[in-house]
Structure formats: C-alpha cells, structure tokens
C-alpha cells in the first residue's frame, strides 16, 4: 500500500482561535475516507490545508509526496471546496473547458472531457447554461463535475451531497462507489449513513483535534447487532434478552437497539432467532445491521 496523504503535527490558528490542533494522520491508497465531526470541528480547515488554500501555522503536509499547492499535484488532486462557486459570467462548458486546459489537455480533449464529466453528474443539457440559470443542486453538480475532470488520483469532496435532492445525492454516491477502485476519495458529510455506505475509514475531528482514526467494520464492531424497528414496542428488550448469546440490549435512539453478542461464532443463529422472535410477536423491523452504525461507533 502506498501513502497518499501524510499529515504531521499540523496546527492552524486564526488569531487566538485554534482551528486545528496538532492533527496527525496518514492515509494509504484505497477505499474512500470519511471526514466527520460537528460544525466548527475543523473539517473545512483541514480540507483547505490539504488543497493548499491556506498554510498551516505549524506542521507538515505531504500529498503524493509533494507539498499542497505544488504544481506536481495539478490534475492529480482535485476537490469540491465547500461554498466555492463557478463564475456567473461564463457558461458551465466554458469554465470546465478552461479548467481542463489548465490541467494540460488540448482544446479538443478538454471539450470531450467536459462533456464526459457533465454527463456523469447528469448535466449534459446544461453545457451552454450560465451558473445563474441553474438551480442550487445543479450548480453543485457542476462543481462536482469539475472535480472529476481528467483522471485525478485524489478527489476531496466537502459536503458534496448537501443541498442535493435524494435522486441526485444517490447519483453522486453511485459515482463515488463506481470510481472508488481507481480514485482515492475523501468525503466530508454530516450524513453518517451515506459515509457508512461509501467509506472504509473515518477521521473524526472534534474541536480541532483528531479524536479517532479508525477503519469501519473492524473487530470492535463485530460483537454487535443493530436493530431498527418500524415503531416502539415496549416488550421488545426482554424478548431479545431471552435469545441465547445476547448479553445486553440498549436503546441507542428512538426505535433503534444495539445488541451485544457474547458469542460471535453463533451470530448467525442469533440473527435467525431474533428474526423469528420478531415475526412471532408480529413486530416489524426496518433494518438489521451487522455491527454498530457509524453514529454509534463515533458517539
């Protein structure tokens, strides 16, 4: 496995406020990485540092062996920065064509690639539209398209699906899944279920500090089952506790239960017994998750 991002003791201060405090992690080539954390945790600051938009107060960042902003990264690293907008005076095609040419493509290739990425995000009809003629969601998709120009090795998407309708958010997730084997995606989102579906690793930032750096579906989660019900059933916890192998049941949130399994080897029979118990009591469930949800892992 090769190292794609190496962040060492990075601190970023804005005046008296410390946005990031001695953050340290390294990422290897592989499945998408999720960057999560509450508002103001420092996610966008970290994205901006990785993209070279801002300089760290101290520490060192290396991306594909180069400092952020180095010309060696042009075309290899791309990003969807949060709140960045396209120029309202030029058509989408003109701007994407310009970016593609800056990446070193010929005019002909740039046009072809612009059409390709716009097709990927479902904006083939918006080639000659001005950004102001598009809806918020369409503009967002156009900015996602610019991040897909050429063949980048790392794509950082900051809140890529925020503000998109469910169908388009799903399209974007499909694009990420489809290209995850060739491209290293780093995604930031508040939608934990989305990140859970797409990512294998999680960087959890809180108050400017990296609290956790973990791989999803790891052993910590192996001794658990998460059950989501359609409605609240008052008798459910005692019934589940009667199933052999279930040592503990906790209601993590409304209609959601976390089952602690004492015997991992017998997990399949526990799952079958659980489903049988639900059916015999006529209780409807919506999801049975093998392990903890990302939310339960982090909080």
């Amino acid at each position: 496995m090769s190292l794609i991002i190496d962040v060492q003791h990075v601190t970023k201060r804005y005046g008296d406020k410390t946005a990031l405090n001695k953050v340290e992690f390294s990422l290897e080539k592989g499945a998408p990485v999720a960057l999560v954390g509450p508002n103001g945790a420092g996610k966008t600051t970290l994205f901006s540092l990785l993209c070279g938009y801002i300089q760290p107060s101290s520490g060192k960042i290396s991306i594909l062996g180069h400092a952020p902003g180095n010309s060696a990264l042009f075309g290899r690293l791309s990003a969807l920065p949060q709140d960045a907008q396209l120029d309202p005076r030029f058509t989408i095609a003109m701007q994407l064509n310009f970016y593609a040419r800056l990446q070193g493509m010929s005019n002909k290739l740039a046009k072809k690639d612009t059409a390709r990425v716009l097709d990927m995000v479902g904006l083939s009809d918006a080639l000659t539209s001005l950004p102001s003629e598009l809806s918020h969601g369409m503009r967002k998709r156009a900015t996602i398209a610019q991040a897909l120009l050429g063949s980048p090795e790392i794509v950082m998407l900051d809140e890529a699906t925020a503000g998109l309708d469910p169908a388009n958010a799903r399209e974007i997730r499909a694009i990420v899944s489809e290209h995850a084997s060739d491209v290293n995606f780093i995604l930031s989102s508040h939608d934990l279920s989305e990140l859970e579906r797409l990512c294998d690793q999680v960087l959890y930032l809180d108050n400017g500090q990296l609290k956790q750096h973990q791989t999803l579906n790891n052993n910590d989660s192996a001794g658990f089952l998460t059950l989501r019900m359609k409605q609240i059933y008052s008798e459910i916890i005692p019934v589940i506790l009667q199933i052999p192998g279930v040592s503990q049941v906790a209601m993590t949130q409304d209609k959601e239960y976390l089952l602690t399994i004492s015997n991992e080897q017998g997990k399949l029979s526990i799952e079958m017994n659980l489903l049988t118990a639900l059916a015999s009591n006529n209780w409807s469930y919506t999801q049975l998750i093998n392990g903890k949800t990302l939310e339960n892992q982090l909080f």
Binding site: S48, G75, F90, L102, T143
Partner: protein, 271 residues
C-alpha cells in the same frame, strides 16, 4: 519557481474571452468605442485641422508652447499630436477601470479555489496581468489604427508616416499603462470587489500627492516617494521632447515591483 507558459497562455486567452464574450466585457467595449468615436471625430479629426490651419497656427503655437508641447506641432501627422495628448491620460485611467477585477471577485466567490488546484499563484497573477495588458494593447492598437485612417483620409501621403508614429506611440502608451494594471493587480489582493479596488486606486492617487506634499513640507524633500506612483513620468514624456530611455525605465521598474508585491501577497493569501 517553475512557471508553465502553457498555463499562463491558457489564463491569458480566458481573459480575452472575458472581454469579448461576456455581457460585462461587451458593455465595457461599447463604452470604450463610444468614447473613442467622440474623441476621434470631434477632437482628433477637428482639432488637427485647426492645428494645421494658418489662422489658428499662431494661436496653437502659443498654446502648445505655453504647455511645453511645441515638439508635437512638428509632427508630420497632426492627428497624432491630439491623439497622444488624449490617449496618454485616457488609457491609464481606463486601465484602472477595466483591469479592476483581476482576481478579487474570483477570490471572494471561491472560484480561485478551482483555479489554484490547476495553476500556481505566480502563474495566476502573471497570467491575469498579461491578459489585461493584451486587452489594453488591442484597444490601443485599434485607436491608433483609427487615427491612422483619419489622417490618411485627410491626406493619403501621410499613411506611411502615420503607421510609423502610430506604432511608436502605441508602444509608448503600452509602457505607460503597464504599472497601472500592475497596481490594480496589487490592490486586488487587498479588497474583495472591483468597485473597492477602484475606490482604493482613487484614494491612492488622490491622497498620495497630499501625503507627498506633507512630507515635502516637513522634511524639505520627498525621498523619491513620488516614484511609487504610476504615471509619475507622464508630465515629462508628454511633450515628446528629449525622449530618453530612462523615462520608460521607471514604469517598467514600477510594474516589476508591483507585480512582485502582488505575487507576495497572493502567495500568502487564504483562498
């Protein structure tokens, strides 16, 4: 510092597109064309006929002599005398307006974040500057060609002399406007909009001489601070008398220093 000429050229051509394909660019072009139509038709065309008319010759000589501009009367193409007097003040002012948005609104909007993933900040400053310079060069050339046509229509034998003097003056005008565009590049690092950049430039040129006057009053000299102001040499080159290379060195040095400062600020800016 590695600079890619192809990326700079890409930035330059996009600036040309900004002028010739956007509504705002075309509006600026229309305004420019209207102003120059008036200048050429009413001032350059008529004023030159006045200069060469015997009845006005003595008056013009007296007037131009009082202003130290008698050398202009010796030019074979009188139209260019008026053209030069207007253009040498018009183009620097026009450059301040037209080149007021080299990257401030892109920075404010976040568009620079897309661009700086594909080009270095040095290339961005240089590319945008060269793009604006090329636009002004095209406009200078167009007005110069129009003046040549005016002169040639009056007397076709002036065509060759007009072309020569037109080329010389175009180059001189371009050197004059260079530091003004570089100043706007620098101011674009400090403000968030083109409007504010124009206000900042206006304040610079309005308050600057007042500050210099105060320094002169306090210390008896200005410590060469007047050299900080683009256009400082205009009054000495206006007469086209005793033209020396050093008079064109100042704008070139100012341009280099302003662009280096602009790059210095851009390199440290948070996007």
């Amino acid at each position: 510092m590695k600079i890619s000429c192809s990326r700079i050229w890409c930035l330059v051509t996009f600036e040309l597109l900004r002028l010739f394909t956007t509504k705002r660019g075309l509006l600026a072009l229309s305004a420019f064309a209207t102003i120059w139509f008036i200048i050429l038709y009413y001032f350059v065309g008529s004023a030159s006929s006045m200069v060469i008319s015997p009845s006005f010759e003595s008056m013009a000589s007296q007037l131009f002599g009082a202003l130290g501009l008698t050398a202009l009367l010796d030019w074979p193409v009188a139209e260019y005398a008026i053209y030069w007097l207007v253009a040498v003040y018009f183009f620097p002012s026009f450059a301040l307006l037209v080149c007021s948005d080299q990257f401030c609104s892109d920075k404010h909007r976040g568009t620079l974040r897309f661009i700086t993933l594909r080009t270095t900040r040095a290339e961005l400053v240089l590319g945008r500057y060269v793009g604006q310079l090329l636009i002004i060069a095209i406009l200078i050339l167009l007005t110069s060609i129009a003046t040549t046509i005016l002169a040639s229509v009056r007397d076709v034998t002036l065509l060759s002399a007009s072309l020569q003097i037109g080329a010389k003056l175009s180059l001189e005008l371009l050197i004059v406007v260079m530091p003004f565009i570089a100043l706007m590049s620098l101011l674009n690092n400090l403000v968030n909009s083109a409007r504010l950049a124009i206000v900042a430039a206006t304040l610079f040129f309005a308050l600057g001489p007042l500050v210099l006057a105060f320094i002169q009053y306090q210390f008896g000299q200005v410590f060469y601070l007047n050299w900080l102001f683009p256009g400082e040499q205009i009054s000495s080159i206006l007469s086209q008398n005793n033209m020396v290379t050093s008079q064109y060195l100042l704008p070139l040095i100012q341009t280099a220093l302003l662009l280096m400062t602009s790059h210095f600020l851009m390199k440290r800016a948070s996007l």
